[in-house]
């Protein structure tokens, strides 16, 4: 059981890390600001989500697990709204 | 060497120490909460009480002959904080109470809330910040813990800087901004030094530290940083750049408090640092540098004062010069020598007499500027005939600055001169004498035309009571010249002997 959970964590965190790599690569390599923003949101969504998922089995208590989920949700919210706002700012400045 | 007083037990009368700080703090909070005219009433109400507390502290100190101590919260240092009052603290507390009250009384005419308005910007700010300056200076004089003193200089900075730009002209705001940057940089340097001392010795209490410190690199660096930071706040040459525009452009009542008291707060902490925290670390070289900078300040500040076109700028540059004198005591208060007590008294006398004289002069200059609508020295011809009392106050203050007898300034310079000759270092005495001559020069530039028989028309004559405030301060500066021997004994209470320098 433990081994399975650990394996699950390793896979989730590996994928999460990959999305961070991809997001950063996109931020650095994509040609225009809007697509760079798109790349950024991938790291926010999937990267953090997968890593939180991977850490959940290791959370010591229910409160700790709840905090992890809350952190993920907050980052989602922040990511979604700031992406909206930044995108609008980019478009306005043309 | 005087045995270090017991660091960690409250003495009789100790409760007065926290009262001296908490009282104006309560005033600040109550003034902001009730607002409007109440701020002025609260400030004026607290002033006599605060003066009474300062006097009571002095009496307790005089009776016991030992520093007063109060341990806050019942936790003894090094874990907790102690407040301590020695002779120097007590005279500074009384001086502060007097000058703050004088400035407050003088300012009632300018910073009264106009009729028909519940609350106005400048009056509310002034009355709150005046109490804040008072609270923070009392903390500076009483704090026995280096971090507690950091909080004190932070309070002092935040109280002093807005006073500079109370009339919100563009030039005053830029002067205030420059002052703020100097003061904040000074705070950071001070804090860095405090952190280093804690890292090396594990305590911030001044008395405990003085036992533990030894002459080693960390102490030199910490002391250097703290001194540099405090010098920036004291405006000792060459860190004086912020002072003239800030002090000259502030409203007169604010200039008086800033020049007479606020720069003395950080000077007081430099004295605390070298003679309270580090008496066992020989510091002849540092003392020499400080005195050399002081000498440069005297000459440079006086020469610049000679060239000013505006009265308030002249007085501000004179402050730059007079701050220089304060540092001449450093090389003379060294080792177990006979002249040390004299030099110590001389330094403190200079602090006190400059405070009263400079406050009187700024208030007088403020009255002149209000009555004429300007303060161009060129156009002051004949002011003596129309505003005799104001000019008399200005002149008496000037007398003390020049060091002519009888005055506190004379006594201060006489004591320092005597000490410098007895110590075999007449160079400092020579600087003092030439500074006195230069002061005579820049004051002559004001007084000679002022006393001419030209006819001058005032826009509005000054109020008698406000002239009287300036005169009372000037007379106090003169009266200090008659201080009895007992007064000098009082100044020695709690002075710790400094190592080295037994030449």
């Amino acid at each position: 059981m433990n081994v399975l959970l650990d394996l699950f964590s390793v896979i989730a965190i590996c994928f999460g890390t990959f999305f961070f790599l991809a997001g950063t690569a996109g931020l650095l390599r994509f040609p225009d600001a809007l697509s760079r923003l798109h790349a950024l949101t991938k790291a926010d969504n999937l990267g953090v989500g997968l890593i939180v998922l991977g850490l959940l089995p290791h959370a010591g208590s229910l409160l700790a697990a709840l905090k992890l989920v809350a952190i993920w949700a907050l980052i989602q919210l922040a990511g979604a709204t700031s992406a909206q706002l930044i995108a609008r700012a980019i478009r306005r400045s043309g | 060497m005087n045995a270090a007083p017991i660091a960690s037990a409250s003495t009789a009368g100790g409760s007065l120490l926290w009262l001296a700080i908490i009282l104006p703090v309560v005033g600040i909070l109550a003034s902001l909460l009730s607002g409007g005219r109440h701020a002025e009433r609260i400030a004026l109400l607290l002033m006599p009480t605060g003066f009474g507390i300062a006097i009571a502290i002095a009496i307790f100190l005089w009776r016991s002959g030992q520093p007063l101590v109060y341990v806050i919260g019942g936790f003894n240092p090094p874990l907790g904080i102690a407040l301590r009052a020695d002779g120097f603290s007590a005279v500074m507390l009384v001086t502060t109470a007097l000058i703050v009250a004088a400035a407050g009384f003088y300012a009632r005419a300018i910073f009264a809330t106009p009729p028909g308005i519940t609350e106005a910007r400048a009056p509310l700010t002034f009355w709150i910040l005046l109490q804040a300056i008072w609270a923070s200076l009392n903390l500076v004089f009483l704090g026995g813990d280096l971090f507690n003193l950091y909080v004190a200089i932070e309070l002092l900075t935040f109280a002093a800087v807005p006073l500079v730009c109370l009339d919100s002209r563009a030039e005053t705001i830029s002067a205030a901004l420059r002052y703020l940057l100097f003061a904040l940089c000074g705070s950071v340097f001070y804090l860095l030094g405090v952190a280093l001392l804690y890292g090396a010795y594990g305590t911030l209490d001044i008395v405990l530290l003085s036992d533990r410190v030894s002459s080693e690199p960390v102490v030199w660096v910490a002391a250097g940083l703290m001194t540099a930071g405090l010098l920036a706040k004291t405006a000792l040459f060459p860190l004086h750049l912020w002072l003239p525009p800030a002090h000259a452009n502030a409203p007169a009542a604010c200039s008086a408090v800033l020049s007479a008291l606020v720069v003395k707060g950080s000077f007081f902490l430099i004295v605390r640092l070298w003679f309270g925290v580090l008496p066992n670390v020989p510091h002849e070289a540092v003392s020499f540098i400080l005195a050399a900078l002081g000498s440069a300040a005297i000459l440079f500040g006086s020469v610049l004062a000679l060239q000013q076109e505006r009265l308030k700028l002249l007085i501000a540059y004179s402050t730059v010069a007079q701050i220089g004198y304060l540092f001449l005591m450093f090389p003379l208060v060294q080792g177990p020598n006979l002249w040390v007590a004299e030099a110590w008294s001389g330094g403190i006398m200079q602090t006190l007499s400059h405070a009263f004289a400079k406050a009187a002069m700024f208030l007088a200059a403020g009255l002149i500027a209000e009555s004429l609508g300007h303060d161009r020295i060129r156009d002051l011809r004949g002011i003596g005939a129309v505003m005799p009392m104001t000019l008399f106050a200005f002149g008496l203050g000037g007398l003390s600055l020049m060091g002519l007898p009888p005055s506190g300034g004379f006594l201060a310079k006489w004591l320092l001169l005597k000490a410098s000759i007895e110590a075999g270092r007449p160079i400092w005495g020579a600087v003092m004498l030439s500074g006195g001559l230069l002061a005579a020069g820049y004051l002559y530039r004001v007084l000679a035309p002022a006393l001419s028989s030209d006819i001058l028309h005032l826009k509005a004559p000054p109020r008698r009571s406000r002239e009287a405030v300036a005169l009372a301060l000037a007379l106090t500066a003169i009266a200090l010249g008659f201080a009895p021997k007992a007064f000098f004994d009082f100044l020695q209470i709690g002075r710790v002997a400094v190592a080295g320098g037994s030449s």
């Binding site: 905090k67 922040a78 700031s82 930044i86 306005r92 | -």
Partner: protein, 95 residues
């Protein structure tokens, strides 16, 4: 397992740090804000990983605080710098 967490934290931190090049190069201020946004997200994530590996108490609250305030810089940016009257596409101003 702890070593794995720490390695992941290191890789993520390093990755988003490389992303900070966008703070340097811009070209627009929006890119700069995006780079800090990414650093924030990556920082929070590596904090969670390190907290899980080292077990220091209270670290999850630090991450919680950072996550709560993650959008502030972007909003302040949109309000103050990218306001309609100022031009954000001017790029790196190195006058």
């Amino acid at each position: 397992m702890n070593d794995f967490f720490l390695s992941a934290a290191g890789i993520i931190l390093f990755t988003v740090a490389v992303g900070l090049v966008r703070v340097l190069s811009g070209p627009t201020n929006a890119d700069r804000i995006m780079a800090t946004q990414l650093l924030g997200t990556g920082g929070i994530t590596s904090l969670l990983l390190v907290a899980s590996a080292t077990g220091v108490r209270g670290v999850d609250d630090v991450a919680l605080g950072l996550a709560l305030l993650a959008a502030f810089a972007a909003i302040a940016f949109v309000d103050n710098v990218a306001a309609p009257d100022s031009d954000t596409s001017k790029g790196d101003r190195t006058e």
